[in-house]
C-alpha cells in the first residue's frame, strides 16, 4: 500500500501528469511509424536522426533559446529528407553518408556544448540530452501543448494514409505503377519520424530514441502476422512499456529513459519466447 500512496502523491503534481501524457503520446506515435520504418529498412534514418537531433539541441543551447523546438525541429526534418535521399542513392555510398552525418553532428554537438556552455555541469547536461534522465519531469505547459498537437497530427496522418502507407511499404514498384506517388509517402514517413524523434528526445534522450521506434515493432512482429495486427500490437506494447517505465522510474528513482527502454527490452524478450512457442506448436 505504501507504493500506491507514493504513486498517488506523485500524480498529484502537474509535472508528473505532463510527463505521463507526453510519454504515452510519444510512445504511441513512435510505435506506429516504427513498424513502417523497420519494414522499409529505414531504421538507419531513425538512428542517424537521433544523433542529428543531439547536435541541433547543442546549437539551440548555445544560442540560448527559450524554446529549443524552433531550432531542433527544422534541422532534424531537413536532415531526415537528406538522409532519405542519401540512403536511396546508388551513386554515392549512402550508408557511409549517413554514418558521416550522424557521427559528425554528435562530435560538433559535444564540442559546442563544452566550449560555449554556460552551466557548470557540462557532462551532466550532455548526459541528460543523450539519455533523457529527468528532463521529462521539467516539461512546461507549452511543451505539453506542442506535444499534444504534434501527436494528434501524426496519429491522424497514420490513420488516414494507412492504406497508402501499407501499399508503399509492401511494394513500392506496384504502388508507383498504380499511380501512387511513392516518393511523397517516403518523404512523409521521413518527416514524421523526424518530428517523433524531436518529441521523444525529452522522454528518453537522443541516443535511446531508436529503441522506442524499433523495439515495439520488432516485438509485435514476433507474435502477429498481419499488418494490422502488428500495428495495433506494437502500439499497445509501446504504450504499456512507457507507462510501466515511467511509473517504475518514479518509484525506484531511476532515470526515465533507460527505464522505459528496459521495459521495451523485457517486452521483446516475452514476445520472442511467445513467438518461438507459437512456431513450435505448429
Amino acid at each position: 500500500m505504501k507504493l500506491l500512496d507514493t504513486l498517488i502523491e506523485y500524480f498529484s503534481y502537474d509535472f508528473v501528469i505532463y510527463a505521463f501524457v507526453v510519454g504515452v503520446l510519444v510512445s504511441l506515435c513512435s510505435a506506429l511509424f516504427g513498424v513502417v520504418l523497420v519494414l522499409k529498412r529505414f531504421s538507419f534514418i531513425g538512428d542517424g536522426l537521433s544523433h542529428v537531433a543531439f547536435g541541433a539541441m547543442a546549437i539551440a543551447a548555445v544560442i540560448g533559446l527559450t524554446n529549443n523546438m524552433l531550432v531542433v525541429l527544422p534541422i532534424t526534418v531537413i536532415s531526415a529528407i537528406l538522409l532519405l535521399r542519401a540512403g536511396q542513392s546508388t551513386r554515392i555510398k549512402g550508408d557511409a553518408a549517413i554514418a558521416m552525418i550522424s557521427v559528425g553532428s554528435l562530435a560538433v554537438g559535444y564540442l559546442l556544448m563544452s566550449v560555449f556552455s554556460t552551466s557548470a555541469n557540462v557532462s551532466g547536461d550532455v548526459c541528460s540530452t543523450l539519455f533523457g534522465s529527468f528532463s521529462i519531469l521539467t516539461l512546461s505547459k507549452t511543451d505539453l501543448w506542442v506535444c499534444l498537437v504534434m501527436s494528434v497530427v501524426v496519429l491522424a496522418l497514420f490513420v488516414l494514409f494507412y492504406n497508402r502507407i501499407f501499399s508503399v511499404t509492401f511494394d513500392e514498384g506496384f504502388s508507383r505503377a498504380a499511380g501512387l506517388n511513392a516518393t511523397v509517402y517516403n518523404l512523409l514517413v521521413a518527416v514524421v519520424i523526424a518530428v517523433i524523434i524531436v518529441l521523444a528526445m525529452s522522454l528518453v534522450g537522443s541516443l535511446l530514441i531508436s529503441a522506442l521506434v524499433i523495439f515495439p515493432a520488432l516485438s509485435s512482429m514476433r507474435v502477429c502476422k498481419s499488418f494490422k495486427g502488428v500495428v495495433i500490437c506494437s502500439a499497445i506494447i509501446s504504450v504499456v512499456c512507457a507507462c510501466v517505465g515511467i511509473i517504475s522510474s518514479i518509484l525506484l528513482s531511476t532515470p526515465v529513459g533507460p527505464t522505459v527502454v528496459c521495459a521495451d527490452i523485457i517486452a521483446f524478450g516475452v514476445c520472442f519466447v511467445l513467438g518461438s512457442i507459437g512456431k513450435l506448436s505448429k
Binding site: 519494414l39 529498412r41 488516414l160 494514409f161 494507412y162 492504406n163 497508402r164 501499407f166 501499399s167 509492401f170 511494394d171 514498384g173 506496384f174 504502388s175 508507383r176 505503377a177 498504380a178 499511380g179 501512387l180 512482429m221 502477429c224 502476422k225 498481419s226 499488418f227 494490422k228 495486427g229 502488428v230
Partner: protein, 233 residues
Amino acid sequence: MSQIICRDLSLGYNGEAVCKNVNFEIEAGDYLCIVGENGSGKSTLMKALLGLHSPLGGEIIKGDGTSTGSIGYLPQQSELQRDFPATVGEVTLSGCIGSLGKKFFYSKADRLRAHDAMKQLGICDLADRPYSSLSGGQQQRTLLARALCATKKIILLDEPVSGLDPAATADMYETIYLLNKKSHTTVIMVTHDISASIRYANKILHMGGSPHFFRSVEEYRASSLFPAEGGEA
C-alpha cells in the same frame, strides 16, 4: 481493337538509348511474351508501359482502359516481401490502391473486388493466412490476385515463374492461360522461358535484334531467332 500501340519507341537512360525502333501493337485478348537477352531493354520497356519511365523518342498510344494506373502489374518479388507481416487478404486488397483516388479508405466495392480476385485464383481459404507462410506458388497467386484488383483488362507480368519449382511453374502458366482465355484478360509477360512462350502466347516480341522481332508465334517458330530445341533465350 488495339489496347496499346508502340511506335518507333526508343528507351534509355540519361540520353543513351538501350533500345531503338520498338514497334508493336497489343489487341484486347492478346497474350504477348516479351523475350530477349539481359540488357536488351525488356524491363525498361515494361516500366515505360507502366508509365514509370518516359521514352526518349517515339510514342506509346494507350487505348481504352489502359491509362496509367489501370494496368495490373505483377512485379518480381523482393527479398523484403518474403517475410513481410501481412495476410493474403491485406495484400490482395492493396491492389485497389489505384482506385482510391481522393478517398482514404477502401469501399465495400473494393473489398468485394478483392474477394472476387481471390476466388478467381482459388486462394479464398488463404485470406487470413500470413503471406510469409505461403509457398512460392501461392505467393505469386496472391500477387496475381492483387494485380487483378487493379484491372481485369490487361495485366503485365514480370518473370512470374522465377524461383518456382516445376509443378508450381506449370500451375502458374495454366492459371495465366485460363485468365487469358476465359476472362479475356490481355496478358503481357516478360520472360526467359521461350518454350512456354510459344506454347501459350499468340504474339512474341523478341528484343535485341534490329529491327526488334514482333510477330505471331507461328512466324517466330519459323524464324532464325527461335532456338532449335526450345530452351532458354
